[in-house]
Amino acid sequence: MLEVFVFSTLNGLVTGLLLFMLASGLTLIFSMMGVLNFAHASFYMLGAYFAYSVSLKLGFWAGLFFAPLLVGTLGALVERYALRRVHAHGHVAELVFTFGLAFLIEEAVQFFWGADTKNYRSPDLLDFPLFVLFGQEFSAYRGFMIAISVGIFLVLFYVLTRSRIGIIIQAAITHPHTVANLGHNVPLIFMVVFGVGTALAGVAGVIAGPVLTTFPGMAVVLGSIVFVIVVIGGLGSLGGAFVASLMIGLLQSYAIASNLGMSDLLNLLGLDFSRDHPLNDLWTLTLPQIAPVLPFLLLVLVLIFRPTGLAGKREE
C-alpha cells in the first residue's frame, strides 16, 4: 500500500509540474491580454516536434536549448503580426483567432511531420533508474523533469516579483496606460510576455515529448486540462495555477491508484443492486475508470462554489 502511495505521489508531482509549465504561460498571457489562448497547448506540441527534429541532428540537449527559443520566437511573431491586429476587434475576435490557430498548427504538424508517432527519445545520459523503491524503478529522466519544472517556477517567481522587469510587467497588466506614459514600450512588453509564455509551453513539450509520446494529438489531450487548471487556480494567478496543477496531478494519480468504486459507496450505505439493474454501469463505476475526467468535475464544482477560482482576483 505504501509503495503505491509513494509512487502515486511522485507520478502526480511529475504530471502536476508539467501541467504547471503550460498553465503558467497561459495564465500570464491571460492576465495580460484578458484572453484565453486556445492555441497554447499547440505551442507545447510544437516544442516537442521541434526538439525531436533538432535531436535527430544534434542530440537531446541541443533540442532542449533551441526548441523553446524557436517556439518562443514563433509565439512572439504571432503576437506581433496577428494577435495585435486582431486585438483591435475585441476579445471575441482574439478568442476565435487563437481557436483557429490551434487547428492550423495541428494540421501543419501533420503536414510536415506526418500523422504517426515520432520516436523521440530521452537522452542516454538519463537512461538509468534514479532510485529503486519497493522493487519499482523511478527513472532519472522523471527526476530531471521535476528538477526543470521546479527550477522554472522559482526563476519565474523571482523575475515576476523581485526584478525590475517583473515589476514593469505587473504594472503593465493592471495599468497599461500609466506604464506607457512613464516611457515604457507596453506593446513590446506584451510581445515578450507572449513569447516567454509560449516558450515555457515549448519547454514543457521538449521534456514531455519522450515520456508522453510525440504525436499530432498531444496538444488536444493536454489542452483542455490546462484550461481547467487556469480556471481552478484563478485566472491570472501564478500561485493559483501552481497549486491547481499539483492538485490535479495528484488527484488523478491517486484516483487511478485507488480501487474504490460505486460499489464501495453502496456497501457503505447498505444498498445493493442486481447486475440486471438498468443502471448497472453506473453502480459498477470505479474511481480509476473516471480518473481522467475528475478534473472536469472539479472545474464544475469550483465554478459553482467559487467562480473566481482558488486565488483569482478577477470579478466581472
Binding site: 509503495e3 503505491v4 509512487f7 502515486s8 507520478n11 502526480g12 511529475v14 504530471t15 495541428e106 494540421e107 501533420q110 503536414f111 510536415f112 506526418g114 500523422a115 504517426d116 508517432t117 515520432k118 520516436n119 533508474p129 529503486v132 519497493f134 522493487g135 519499482q136 524503478e137 527513472s139 529522466y141 522523471r142 515520456v211 508522453l212 509520446t213 504525436f215 499530432p216 494529438g217 498531444m218 488536444v220 489531450v221 493536454l222 486540462i225 488523478q252 494519480s253 487511478i256 491508484a257 470505479t286 480509476p288 475508470q289 473516471i290 480518473a291 481522467p292 475526467v293
Partner: protein, 419 residues
C-alpha cells in the same frame, strides 16, 4: 518531405479534377469506394496509413492492369470522420449525396456500430439505393453476432476469435500465474476484458486475474500511475486491446518502469509504435493478428509489400486485410458483373479465396465473418526481412492457428432483404 507531400497533393488534386471531368463524359465510369476513417486528430496515423494501403491495392492490383468489370477504374474517396460517431454520420450523408454505395471503414468498433445501424436504417428506407459496409478492422464481436447485418462484412477476426488464440498461447506458458488486464473504456475494451477472464478461467483456472482496469479512450496523458498499479500487483503478464497513442504510451510506461514481463496486445506495431518501442520492447511485446508477418510466406507477397514500401517510404503494409478485402470485393463484383451492393453481398457470401500469402480465406455466409488463419508474433530485430517504421525491428511469427480452428459459434439471426 514537404515538397514530396506538396507534389502528391497536387497530383491527387489533378487526378481528382481529371477524373471528375472525364467521369461524366466517358462511358467507363469509375467504381467509387468511400473510405471513412480518421484522417485528422488523435488517431490520424492509423487512418491515413489505411487509406494509403487501400489506394495502393486499388492502383497496383487493378487500375494499373486495366481496371475491373471490363475497364472501369477504382476510385477511392477519402472521407475524414476523426474517429467520431457524429462525424461518421455527417460523412455518411456526404457519401449518400455523392452517390457512393460501398464504404470501407475499420477504426473503432464504436464507429463501426454506428455505421452499421445507420446503413441498415438507410437501406430499409431507400430500396435500390443500398450501401455496403466493408469492415476491415473493427473487431467488436457484436457486429457479426447480435447486431449482424446483411450489408456488413468483416474482414478481420473478431476479438473473441483473437482472444481464443491468444489465451491458447498464454495457457502454454506455465510460468504465467498472474495476469493484469488494462484497456480503453468502450465496447471493444470491455469485450477484451470479459472474454479474456472467461477463457482463461476455462483454459488455465490456476491463473489469477490481478487487475482489470479501464481508462477513457484517448484521454490519458501519462500511463505511469497505471503502471505503478501493475507493478505492485506482481503481474506476470499484461493483456491489452489498446491501440494508437494509448498503446504506445502504455507500453513505454511499462518498459520505463523496468518491468520485464510480456505484454499481449492486438495493435502494438507500426505507425511509429514499433520504432518507439525499439530495443526496449524486444521479446516483450506480442501481437495476435491475421497477418503472417516475418518470415514473409510467399515471393509474391514480399514483392507486393516491397513495392508499397518503395512508393510510401514512411508507411508500412500494416493492415494486409485491406488488400484481402478489396480483392474479395472485386472478385464478387466480377462474379456478379455488378456494382450493386445487393449483388455483391450475395456473391461475397461463402466466398472462398486464396490470398497473396497463400492463406485460405472463407467469408462465412451466416454472419458475414471472415475465417482465416491467425498468428501470434513477437516484436524483435532477429530474422526480420520486412521491418516496421524503418526501424530494423518488426514482427516475427511465433505461433499460428489454421482458419478452421479459429471458428467460434455465432448468434447472428440475419434479416435478409427481399428482392
Amino acid at each position: 518531405m514537404k515538397r514530396l507531400h506538396c507534389r502528391n497533393t497536387l497530383r491527387f488534386l489533378l487526378t481528382g479534377l481529371v477524373l471528375s471531368l472525364f467521369s461524366t463524359a466517358s462511358a467507363q465510369e469509375p467504381v467509387r469506394i468511400a473510405f471513412i476513417d480518421p484522417l485528422s486528430g488523435t488517431f490520424a496515423a492509423i487512418g491515413t496509413s489505411g487509406l494509403k494501403q487501400l489506394q495502393y491495392a486499388a492502383d497496383e492490383l487493378f487500375n494499373s492492369k486495366g481496371g475491373i468489370l471490363g475497364g472501369r477504374m477504382i476510385e477511392i474517396v477519402p472521407l475524414d470522420n476523426k474517429q467520431s460517431p457524429t462525424d461518421t454520420q455527417i460523412q455518411f450523408r456526404r457519401a449518400v449525396s455523392e452517390g457512393l454505395r460501398i464504404i470501407f471503414q475499420g477504426n473503432s468498433s464504436a464507429v463501426a456500430n454506428t455505421l452499421n445501424s445507420t446503413i441498415s436504417r438507410h437501406n430499409r428506407r431507400n430500396p435500390g439505393q443500398e450501401f455496403l459496409q466493408i469492415n476491415y478492422s473493427a473487431v467488436d464481436p457484436i457486429l457479426t453476432n447480435e447486431q449482424c447485418s446483411f450489408w456488413h462484412f468483416r474482414f478481420d477476426a473478431h476479438a473473441v476469435m483473437k482472444l481464443n488464440v491468444l489465451t491458447d498461447y498464454i495457457a502454454m506458458s506455465s510460468d504465467i500465474k498472474k495476469i493484469y488486464i488494462i484497456g480503453q473504456d468502450y465496447s471493444f475494451g470491455q469485450v477484451v476484458s470479459d472474454t479474456s477472464i472467461a477463457l482463461l478461467r476455462e483454459k488455465r483456472p490456476d491463473i489469477e486475474i490481478v487487475g482489470n482496469e479501464f481508462h477513457p479512450i484517448g484521454q490519458v496523458k501519462d500511463f505511469t500511475p497505471y503502471v505503478t498499479k501493475i507493478v505492485s500487483s506482481d503481474a506476470d503478464a499484461v493483456i491489452t486491446g489498446n491501440f494508437g497513442a494509448d498503446m504506445v504510451s502504455l507500453a513505454r510506461s511499462i518498459i520505463d518502469s523496468g518491468l520485464d514481463i510480456p505484454i499481449y496486445t492486438f495493435y502494438a506495431a507500426y505507425d511509429g509504435i514499433t520504432a518507439t518501442l525499439g530495443a526496449d520492447g524486444v521479446d516483450k511485446i506480442y501481437l495476435v493478428h491475421n497477418d503472417a508477418g516475418n518470415p514473409i510466406p510467399t515471393e509474391e507477397r514480399l514483392a507486393y509489400t516491397r513495392n508499397f514500401k518503395r512508393l510510401n517510404p514512411n508507411n508500412d503494409m500494416t493492415q494486409f486485410r485491406i488488400t484481402n478485402a478489396l480483392q474479395m470485393l472485386v472478385q464478387a463484383m466480377e462474379a456478379s458483373q455488378s456494382t450493386d451492393p445487393y449483388d455483391i453481398a450475395l456473391a461475397l457470401e461463402d466466398m472462398r479465396f486464396t490470398n497473396m500469402s497463400g492463406e485460405e480465406l472463407w467469408m462465412r455466409g451466416e454472419d458475414h465473418q471472415i475465417i482465416q488463419p491467425l498468428h501470434i508474433s513477437v516484436h524483435t530485430d532477429q530474422n526480420i526481412v520486412v521491418d516496421a517504421d524503418n526501424s530494423g525491428f518488426g514482427l516475427y511469427r511465433d505461433f499460428s492457428v489454421a482458419g478452421d480452428e479459429t471458428v467460434v459459434d455465432h448468434s447472428c439471426r440475419m434479416r435478409r432483404p427481399r428482392r
